[in-house]
């Protein structure tokens, strides 16, 4: 369970990214965060992993207070939280399976890391993760030879091999075409349901958010203006979240 208690974040340049955010997310939920760019979506995600620290308030994840974490304890905490990035962030010049195994190095000793000696169980874990996202046959291909959608699947598999309790996704499908984007979102949904992993995704496209997430959090200028099941979201609410009419740009499939 992730609990934000009165969290505010002010960047060093004075930008107020989040204002008194209080929200709690249960284990196994699929949450989409929507809002204009600059509304504070990315900040919210980054705070959970402590890529950035809160200015005030507290964040508690599975009973552990995030602000106090430092050094080894922070690294241990991060092992349970996977991140999927918009730009995939794969290691290009190496094989797919090595990319997935990269998430295992946190638990390995430095000599094994240096010589790339992965234990049998880690290798099986990595291959199973690839199988779960349906690209097992690409395991020994170089990562930069894959298409965008396949690369995002590798990134998802890398996260799965971490055995996380939470997956954070920062605009996971924004740089993909609509059809691939739908497939990737289906992968997220499937993993969310079968493994009971919490998924928190920043979504640029409203339709994708409503289609796949159980719960939607709308952010406007650093404040939560809506928090509820995605079935309750209507035109009026969207106008409130976005502060304007929904345009074609906010939707991935124009016909729907």
């Amino acid at each position: 369970m992730i609990v934000f208690n009165n969290v505010s974040k002010v960047y060093s340049n004075g930008t107020v990214a989040l204002k008194n955010v209080t929200v709690s997310i249960n284990q196994g939920e699929f949450v989409a965060i929507i809002g204009l760019s600059g509304a504070g979506k990315s900040t919210l995600i980054k705070l959970i992993n402590k890529m950035i620290s809160v200015t005030s308030g507290t964040i508690t994840v599975n009973g552990e207070q995030v602000e106090g974490l430092r050094g080894k304890r922070l690294r241990q905490y991060r092992r349970k939280i996977g991140i999927v990035f918009q730009s995939f962030n794969l290691i290009n010049r190496t094989t797919v399976v090595r990319n997935v195994l990269a998430s295992r190095v946190a638990d390995m000793n430095i000599i094994a890391t240096l010589f790339g000696i992965y234990s049998k169980s880690d290798q099986i874990l990595a291959l199973e993760a690839l199988h779960k996202v349906g690209i097992l046959e690409k395991a020994y291909t170089r990562a930069d030879q894959l298409s965008g959608g396949q690369q995002q699947r590798v990134a998802l598999a890398r996260t799965l091999a971490q055995r996380p309790s939470v997956i954070l996704a920062d605009e996971p499908v924004a740089s993909l075409d609509p059809i691939t984007a739908n497939q990737i979102m289906k992968d997220f949904k499937r993993i969310n349901q079968s493994e009971n992993i919490t998924v928190i995704a920043n979504m640029h496209h409203v339709d994708m958010a409503l289609k796949y997430a159980d719960r939607v959090i709308g952010i406007n200028k650093g404040e939560i203006v809506f928090d509820g099941p995605s079935s309750e979201v209507n035109e009026e609410l969207l106008k409130k979240i976005y502060g304007r009419e929904i345009t074609d740009e906010d939707i991935m499939f124009r016909d729907q």
Partner: protein
Amino acid sequence: MPNLKNPPLKNRERDNRIHIFESIRWYFLRNIVQTKNARKVVLSDGVSITKPYSFGLFYLLILIGLSYYFVDLIVISYFEITPFELFVKRIPNFTNIVSKMITDFNLPYLPRIIQPLIDTIQMAILGTFIGAAFALPVAFLASQNLVKSKVLTNVIKLILSFIRTIPTLVYAAILAFAFGYGTTIGVIATAIFTFGILSKMLYEVIETLDLGAFIAVESTGATKTKAFIASIIPQIMGTFVSLTLYSFEINIRASAILGYVGAGGIGILLDDHMTWREYGHLGVILALLLVVVFIIENISRYIRKKMS
């Protein structure tokens, strides 16, 4: 006010140098003295923007000044210190040595230089290997994009540039004074040199890398060192091996003369025969070196080509 509209015409009676000087002076006056009007660009709707000053001209002037100085130096030394006739007169000395190398070519001597040659090559290989092994972690510490502390990266960069200013031969000479003669100091000297250049070339490669993968691995809870090993090293491995081979080529050539200062290998023999004017022996050594360096460079180039 000087004439700023038209550049100076080339006058037949003046020489080129004066014309160039006049032109620079004219350009300088026009662009810097007559500041605002010349630099102001007015668009069709009356909006105007002023171009900022460019320091290009300033640097160009310094460059011209410097090159003028060096040309002068060469010209003076050419005419006053070493008369040209003397140089021409001495050309036969040089050709004599070269022809003696060929006519007195002492082929039976060949087997006796094989061992020193192998020593030289081993010196270069081992030195390159040791230098490269140290270069990788230091390049990581010197990369501004991976290490937060600017002080640390800059101190390392400063030390590295200090290491690079001293040539391998000088390292070997200093080490020979301190530790005595032998191939070991040749290895250490080569290693230090390799370490210096490889670290620099590597951190420059690392600093241009996209850090996405590094951040991703770090976000799984890995330490920076582990994230570097897992995400940066695979990306730079090809370049690393290629750069290492390239420094090996340099080292092979450098290590041939390391014997001069007591570092062992074939350089000792070169020194001996030069002193005793045994040009026939010298010819054999140089011929062998030529062949070996040629072969090694080509193998190395072939591997580098295959890798990229």
